[in-house]
């Protein structure tokens, strides 16, 4: 099918975009067009207006300073995947970006699009949940900073208001000193370029990577496609904090994560299976993060 008729708007600044959002009835924002176009072609959405953000250059940036990593909403997956600065400071992000769908989607798709869509199977939502990111929203009334755990409310439902747009996302760097932190984004996929069955975003900071048995100071675990929102599992983090990632601690993680997740059954993976692999992938992801944290060549 073809989409229902709509009027296309192409503003060049954030302010102009916000004015359009305010004045137009029934408008949708268009970012990288890797989801909305398909939805509209199937007539599952019929907005009267599309406000195209592809001309708003001020929304595409990656800034890393002493306090935080900040990424603009219109930054493409490809740009995040290939950013050296992010690879040094927040490697989970390039790693999660590099595993999204296929190359053509990564060339066009954007950070803001993924977070705006808020599919709990998406990569950035889980990565941001693990890293305790903040979503920066803007409207004509000003800006609003929403912590990730308040932003995702339900399946494809967020705290974003109709007259707001996602400006950027920021992550504090202080909890993740590169010389003693390891992080990874691990997906289980049944086939290349598809949505993951389950993903595990984890990070580990150790006290001393050169010690015989480095102790976990801080652990982060968040799961994708395992609930109706990206799911942070703090109860499981507690099992490995304060120890050296023992087999017993990891077993406890597997159990806690398996019982914390509430996945929906899919055609190729029923609920029981997904609960089981969620626990297993949280464990494997943590093992990799720990290995990276204690590897002395940073």
């Amino acid at each position: 099918m073809k989409p229902a008729p709509f009027t296309h708007h192409r503003p060049e600044t954030v302010d102009e975009t916000l004015e359009r959002l305010e004045e137009l009835e029934d408008a949708e924002l268009l970012a990288g067009n890797q989801s909305l176009g398909i939805v509209m072609a199937n007539r599952l959405a019929t907005p009267d207006h599309l406000v195209d953000l592809n001309g708003v250059d001020e929304l595409a940036f990656i800034d890393v300073d002493d306090d935080a990593v900040r990424i603009g909403a219109m930054t493409r997956h490809r740009t995040i995947e290939r950013s050296d600065r992010l690879a040094e400071t927040m490697p989970m992000l390039p790693e999660s970006a590099g595993q999204i769908a296929g190359p053509s989607v990564r060339n066009q798709g954007t950070l803001g699009g993924s977070i705006g869509e808020a599919d709990p199977a998406g990569n950035y939502p889980a990565a941001l949940a693990a890293l305790e990111g903040t979503i920066h929203l803007r409207s004509l009334d000003g800006t609003r900073d929403v912590p990730v755990d308040e932003y995702f409310i339900a399946y494809m439902f967020t705290d974003l208001r109709e007259e707001e747009l996602i400006e950027s996302v920021s992550i504090p760097t202080e909890p993740f000193p590169p010389e003693r932190t390891g992080m990874t984004f691990l997906e289980l996929k049944r086939a290349a370029q598809t949505f993951p069955t389950v993903s595990a975003a984890t990070s580990i900071r150790v006290d001393d990577p050169t010690a015989d048995e480095p102790i976990v100071e801080d652990a982060r675990i968040a799961m994708a496609n395992a609930a109706d929102i990206p799911l942070r599992v703090e109860d499981a983090e507690a099992h490995v904090e304060g120890g050296s990632l023992s087999a017993e601690a990891l077993e406890a993680v597997v159990e806690t994560v398996s019982s914390a997740v509430t996945p929906e059954s899919e055609m190729h993976a029923d609920r029981d299976y997904k609960e089981e692999v969620a626990g297993e992938y949280a464990k494997r992801s943590l093992e990799t993060s720990y290995e990276r944290a204690v590897a002395t060549e940073t």
Binding site: G116, I153, A154
Partner: protein, 169 residues
């Protein structure tokens, strides 16, 4: 079959609120995603509504029949909606009860049969979405009542023989 229930506190009395809940112009402005609403007869409404999650908002052609209208206590409607690849049927009831502070507690409940893309979201997702939409509806309604917008009661219950909905299938 999904079941939804909830309560909303409103500041005005039952008598004051009744016209708002039974005026199609007001309903059209408060119903989430409503693009058109037409009063076909005192007990029939036709509407076009875009409802869904995120950017997935199919446009439903909705036919509504009022099955009970006991002013100012109970309003009940049946509705059938058709959209590309989506369908729903619902019976929704609203009971207005006086509360201690002189306002009104609106107790609402609905049962729904949903099929198609939206149904594949699963019951949990649908419930959280419904809750949000209903909250939005009541807060818009409260704003209208606070502003004291003109409202006129237009709805009455359908006679027995009209209280069933025609379905195409």
């Amino acid at each position: 079959m999904l079941e939804f229930t909830g309560e909303n506190e409103m500041e005005q009395s039952k008598e004051e609120l009744w016209p708002y809940f039974t005026d199609t112009d007001i309903l059209a402005e408060c119903a989430p995603g409503c693009k058109e609403m037409t009063l076909v007869s005192p007990h029939e409404i036709e509407a076009v509504m875009a409802v869904g999650v995120g950017s997935v908002k199919p446009e439903f052609d909705v036919d509504v029949v009022v099955t009970r209208a006991d002013r100012p206590d109970v309003l009940e409607m049946k509705a059938v909606g058709h959209a590309p690849r989506n369908e729903f049927e619902t019976v929704a009831q609203m009971e207005l009860k006086e509360n201690a502070s002189g306002g009104t507690t609106v107790v609402w409940s609905a049962t729904a049969d949903v099929s198609g893309t939206i149904a594949s979201l699963g019951g949990r997702a649908l419930k959280s979405v419904t809750k949000r939409l209903v909250k939005k509806f009541f807060s818009k309604m409260q704003a209208k009542a606070d502003e004291g917008v003109e409202a006129e009661s237009e709805l009455e219950a359908a006679p027995e023989e009209d209280a069933t909905l025609e379905t195409d299938d």
